[in-house]
Amino acid sequence: MKVCFSSSGKDLESVLDSHFGRCQYFIVYDTENDEYKTIDNEGQHSEHGAGIAAAQQVIKLDVDVIITGNLGPNSMELLKDSSAEIYRGSNTTISSNLESYKSKSLDKITEPRKPHFGLGNGNKHRGRS
């Protein structure tokens, strides 16, 4: 089974990145052979639609599980049709989140956050000067 983490760093001791669309890396861990690979997230370079680019990339990797912090409506729109299960991890290392997943203590994510939730909690572009 392939488990995909949104990560701020390149290895299993890196901290989980809570922003799915704009995380730096995806770490895909294979439970069958205890190996992992690190991939650059294409979404982080998008001016708009980061969640779309990220979701597209992850779907193509054919993962079974996604562990992240928050996803917006665009990535949710694409992921709802895939068979991947999405869970909310916590602000610790990838390996720690993996253990939590294995012990079934993570909650499923079924609803998206507001758009741009991680960038100033969705309030960055509100109002005028």
Binding site: G49, A50, S82, R128, S129
Partner: protein
């Protein structure tokens, strides 16, 4: 002749200046049009209260996929610069609000499965108040891009008229689009450090665009020197000042125009003469 009114900082008095200037010019006998280019939050009509006679909806083109012809090659998604179209597994998903209507997906599809359809994003309204023509663009709520409305609004500019362009706040893409064909720009500011900070940004923008401009200090008070010193150093003309008066704010809050008051009329007469000298 196109005269745009911008500010950098929001809330300095663009609409106050544009609406009253438009009326003043019209009263002086000039053929004048007021155009509200702040399509996300057009407020000029609150003060002008024009009799609206016509309007039109504004559309953009977005892709639609004929699923029967589509073979899911994914080329459309790969070619899209805006993440607006995605081909995954057996389905093509289109994110219409991200689409910039460039048409590339329709061109690259090897199956010719993509065509374009219209999507409504807003509307234009045109009316008049006595001799003054008033036009406004309105972006539908929830729409992220105002540029298509601005493009349509520009079709209403009339060469033989004085067109007063009430621009959006800030110095964004929408502002650039609004002011780019101006013969003169009025930069409205207030005597505060916020006002000065954003005035500088706006001044840089119009300078880079080689547009002749002058400054109006709204809510003028004993702190004017903060703006005056800046303008002196940069050789920028201050073409008018409106003294801060609580009554002005009160009238504004009731949606009333300021023209008709002697002092205000004098200010706008001065602004008008200065502009006519420059153009």
């Amino acid at each position: 002749m196109n005269i745009s009114v911008l500010s950098g900082k929001g809330g300095t008095g663009k609409t106050t200046i544009s609406t009253n200037l438009a009326i003043a010019l019209s009263n002086q006998g000039y053929k004048t049009q007021y155009l509200d280019f702040d399509v996300e939050e057009p407020n000029g009509f609150i003060f002008l209260k024009p009799f609206v006679i016509s309007g039109e909806k504004v559309y953009v083109q977005v892709p639609q996929v004929n699923e029967e012809l589509c073979n899911n090659c994914g080329l459309c998604g790969e070619s899209c610069n805006f993440n607006a179209i995605v081909a995954l597994k057996d389905k093509v998903t289109i994110f219409e609000k991200l689409c910039h209507s460039c048409g590339v997906c329709t061109l690259v599809c090897p199956q010719k499965a993509i065509s374009e359809k219209d999507r409504e994003v807003g509307f234009i309204e045109k009316g008049s108040r006595v001799e003054l023509s008033a036009i406004r663009g309105v972006l539908n709520i929830g729409e992220p891009m105002g540029i298509p409305i601005l493009r349509k609004l520009k079709e209403y500019l009339k060469e033989e008229y004085i067109n007063i362009i009430d621009s959006p706040p800030g110095s964004s893409c929408s502002v650039i689009n609004s002011v780019e064909d101006s013969d003169y720009a009025i930069l409205v500011t207030e005597p505060t450090s916020f006002g000065l900070h954003d005035l500088d940004i706006a001044a840089n923008v119009v300078s880079k665009m080689n547009i002749n401009f002058g400054v109006v200090i709204n809510k003028s008070n004993e702190n004017d020197s903060i703006i005056e010193e800046y303008c002196r150093n940069k050789n920028i003309d201050i073409i008018g000042k409106i003294t801060f008066d609580r009554r002005i704010a009160q009238e504004y809050s009731k949606g009333k125009l300021l023209i008709g008051n002697d002092e205000i009329d004098r200010v706008f007469d001065t602004i008008t003469s200065k502009i006519m000298e420059e153009v």
